[in-house]
Symmetry: D2
Subunit: 158 residues, 4 copies
């Protein structure tokens, strides 16, 4: 795993503040378990309110956790003045989301001035066993105040 | 758009029952607006409880609507005894999920005995204007009772 | 389908020149069939050199056609000084790539100053029948000379 | 990384034979470097014939290598009588495909009777430096003779 140098020395507080500013995370009961430059781990308890027809957590809710893990991980490597948004992600569902608690681990694969690429994995903790239940591959975008972010020259990559 | 022949004449009641059996849909306030063989339209009101840091609906919640639209659309073309699960999807976020109401339209691109492929679009209704805000491309799988579903022969596609 | 206004009145010549500058397209025998603002159609003959173990065209080669169709479609809507690169795409394979000729149709779903989103479909022409064999959902990026492309302000989308 | 038990003791010869039966791999000069249960590494030399407008290898060709790496990795864990096909994949392009040689490493994330999920990474070797240039997340399907592959019961995952 790559080791990243954060541009914002206060990355931890900034990422936590961005996370805490999301009512959706509070509503779903998702919290930050661990935070490091380019890496994050979130946790979510089981809630019957977010299940599908077989009693497993709905794929969209698992995706909310994975996406937020990617967003926070990417955000830790962005400059202080950046806001972040998700461009796209793919979620693959490997096993039913059955458990008492769910863990979302994300890491930045490649940070960039404009675009950052992340991967995340969701795990279910069920009766003392931890199972990989889903993966995500996502693209995130730094939104910067206009003057601070000139575009890359031709033939240079994101 | 393709026109599909449902295998289950009671596809409407079956799809509605499957949808209604999902607590997550009730919790998010998502409902079925329109249902046809291989096509579905869902609607969801805005809820501050599911927003991210800029007041837009969280990408995971938009994904929950898109994924469910795909699932119901695919389910309308499956045999009566099938259950359904999502294999994977990609969500692309084109514009902020800002609005009073959100619409999720899905259609089956190719139904199959085992795998079905769907596409969906999410729209935001905001101050009388409807905007395309996200797209999904997803794979869904029919789960059939063991005896009823022999596998395809070599070199035949899903 | 949306109707788009090209920023570069010479979009046709520019897109054709960009396409012609790609040795890979020449090697695979891919050519432009139709070009309009935000839309393109490419064609490729069957070639045994690019088949997989069952005699169908390899998924990577079908992807090359789909990706290039997306790239040319997005490029028609970019300013004259832009170069283009692909950020990511998802390819879904619906049916075997069996045929004498393959068609790749792409259209821009949402153009943007930095990112453009496209969808494409691949068709096989086989014994007088045309079959949808694959779909793509992709993100492309405009690379602009540094001075010409300030970044978007906070909370505005790509 | 998981350690997998192959169902086919002759998995190495079977995977190599499947790979060798693909004219596309020969045409692109791709070869197997390393093979283990659920893991594979392929290599491809640079070829000007497969470049795009900036002299980098075309994204479709990089995808052909990634997809084939996923396919061979998944195939090593399938039963002897299986054929394999790709259902879908997402390719993310992190850096230009510039180099003298390209490496494609794939591993199975979760094998299944019907569906297998793989991840792959592409690296460019350029002037003595190795750079991660692309990632893939893909779904592959085992095609089995009809009698040998009953379907999973309800609520069991792929």
């Amino acid at each position: 795993m790559a080791s990243f140098e954060p541009k914002n020395p206060g990355y931890g507080a900034a990422a936590t503040a961005m996370f805490d500013a999301q009512p959706a995370m509070r509503t779903l009961g998702i919290s930050i378990v661990r935070l490091a430059p380019g890496e994050v781990e979130l946790a979510m308890p089981h809630s019957p309110a977010y299940t599908q027809q077989n009693g497993f957590i709905h794929a969209g809710i698992i995706t909310a956790g994975l996406d937020n893990a990617c967003g926070v991980a990417a955000f830790t490597l962005m400059p202080r003045e950046a806001d972040i948004l998700t461009v796209e992600f793919k979620t693959t569902l490997l096993a039913p989301a059955r458990g008492e608690r769910f863990i979302f681990k994300a890491e930045v694969v490649k940070p960039g001035r404009t675009l950052s690429f992340c991967e995340a994995r969701a795990f279910a903790e069920h009766e003392g066993k931890t199972t990989l239940i889903a993966t995500m591959s996502g693209t995130l975008m730094a939104m910067l105040p206009r003057v601070a972010a000139p575009q890359a020259p031709n033939t240079t990559h994101p």
